[in-house]
Subunit: 132 residues, 2 copies
DNA sequence: GGCGATTTACTCGGATAAGCATTGTCCGAGTCAGAAGGG
DNA sequence: CCCTTCTGACTCGGACAATGCTTATCCGAGTAAATCGCC
């Protein structure tokens, strides 16, 4: 697992939306200025979260982004995995190396343990927690 | 943190050397064939471990690589950090984003917790454990 | 003045470049063994 | 025959490309409001 700039932007964008409530859509432009990040790039990140059905978007004037669920129903894991892809032990890297199967297995389970821990930890924290 | 092909190769190379004992140097060519990986690339990985003083190398005919320490004194963390660099929470990515300080801090400590867990887990396992 | 088609301004959406890290390759530096030559 | 010198083969070492992923940018699709024209 890794922490991209993109996934961090996704989390903070979620916090920004949570703070505004669900009244009206918030424009990407406003979020970008708030986070001090390039507008066009942030949009691409937000798009991924819309595809993952975590955010919802509306086009046209007065359009923008909103949370699709309540802030306490959105975990960090939801956002991070929507952007980075699933958090696993990267076992595909191991399988293309020839080595003793039990050594491969031991290393793989070590990495899987780390991945499991990361998943459970990120699942505990919600957007609501961070927006407080 | 992430699991590169390079760090996996470093671990398996360490296992290969541990299995041979400390009698004579093992050539990179032999390790590369054993792991089914490009020879020239593996050398670059082994070089990093030599620089980190985990392996030792000898040139010339009958040269090769050896472990510098006992297999039970070399942890997975030693090898992985020698190749990937230190395992941290990638907090540098966070600091260039403008956001509420407490939200940034919460996210950063979540990632630091994962990094700490990964470090402690990788520190528990030694090359000797995997070579058995 | 009221209604509707049209234009306009504004938003997100997806396809397209630029930058950087990881992976892969090549040639040179160092080292020992063995052969060649002279004593 | 023995010692010294030289050549050559073999190893690692570090500098140089190629590939893939992350980041950044651009232009087009969609939408609602405002404008203009007609009734």
């Amino acid at each position: 697992m890794k922490l991209n700039r993109a996934s961090a932007l996704g989390v903070f964008a979620g916090i920004h939306l949570a703070r505004q409530g669900k009244k009206a859509p918030i424009q990407g432009k406003e979020i970008a200025e708030s986070l001090g990040t390039p507008h066009d790039y942030l949009l691409k990140v937000l798009q991924q979260l819309v595809k993952a059905r975590i955010f919802m978007s509306e086009r046209g004037p007065a359009g923008g982004f909103q949370l699709r669920k309540d802030p306490d129903q959105i975990t960090l894991l939801d956002i991070v995995e929507a952007i980075e892809g699933p958090i696993d032990g990267d076992s595909n890297v191991l399988h293309e190396i020839q080595a003793q199967p039990n050594a491969k297995h031991s290393l793989e389970s070590a990495y899987n343990d780390v991945a499991r821990f990361a998943r459970s930890l990120l699942k505990k924290t919600t957007i609501k927690d961070l927006a407080a």
